[in-house]
Symmetry: C2
Subunit: 123 residues, 2 copies
């Protein structure tokens, strides 16, 4: 595994760790600041401002009923300063699939876009 | 609008035009060949090879019952040779939201990743 892929996988893991630790400060750091960010939660519509995106995550982190996410099966493709991670999530036993797009900002991979959706069909 | 954004929007429109025209040759051209491609259809799991991805689209295009996609509301962010398009789709009246990640190959924006999911919650 090359260094960039390893770093992207580290950033992806940090994103899920921030979620599971309900760590709002880390979640805020993980999201990009110099490029537009956007997010689509399972069953949700498109969120297109950093304010909307972070508010959605902080609400999830503040919800005591929110289950942890077990993430795995990452497929990573790095294209210069942008990386696409497609991975699987299990949320309280519900299968979810996610797209996480990272961009390199000041040497750190930051999340620019997240898209999560429920897996309901065999494929 | 800058030239890159305009070109990316053109590629995004060509993707939906190929779908609506049931044009398998154009759909094949639109998808990248030099980088890994991946795709997540609404309710579906992650498809991770070009063969799997193209087979899934050809099956949709060959299905006489498949509705057209009306796409709009595109949000584009271009990062060098990679571009993220988040957009809305209407498929037989069903709201869908999509992530389309394009990469520049030989001067053409090609699709490297598509993720579509149903919108079922207000946001």
């Amino acid at each position: 595994m090359d260094a960039a892929t390893e770093a992207v996988l580290g950033a992806n893991a940090a994103f899920y760790a921030a979620f599971n630790d309900r760590d709002t400060a880390s979640m805020d750091v993980i999201w990009a600041r110099r490029v537009p960010v956007s997010c689509i939660h399972p069953r949700g519509n498109l969120l297109t401002t950093r304010g909307q995106v972070m508010a959605s995550w902080f609400a999830l982190l503040a919800n005591p009923a929110q289950a942890r996410i077990v993430a795995g099966g990452e497929c990573v493709s790095v294209h210069g300063d942008v990386a696409i991670v497609a991975c699987r999530e299990l949320v309280a036993g519900t299968p979810v699939v996610a797209t996480n797009v990272f961009v390199l900002e000041d040497g750190h991979w930051r999340l620019a876009h997240h898209h999560g959706s429920l897996v309901e069909l065999e494929s």
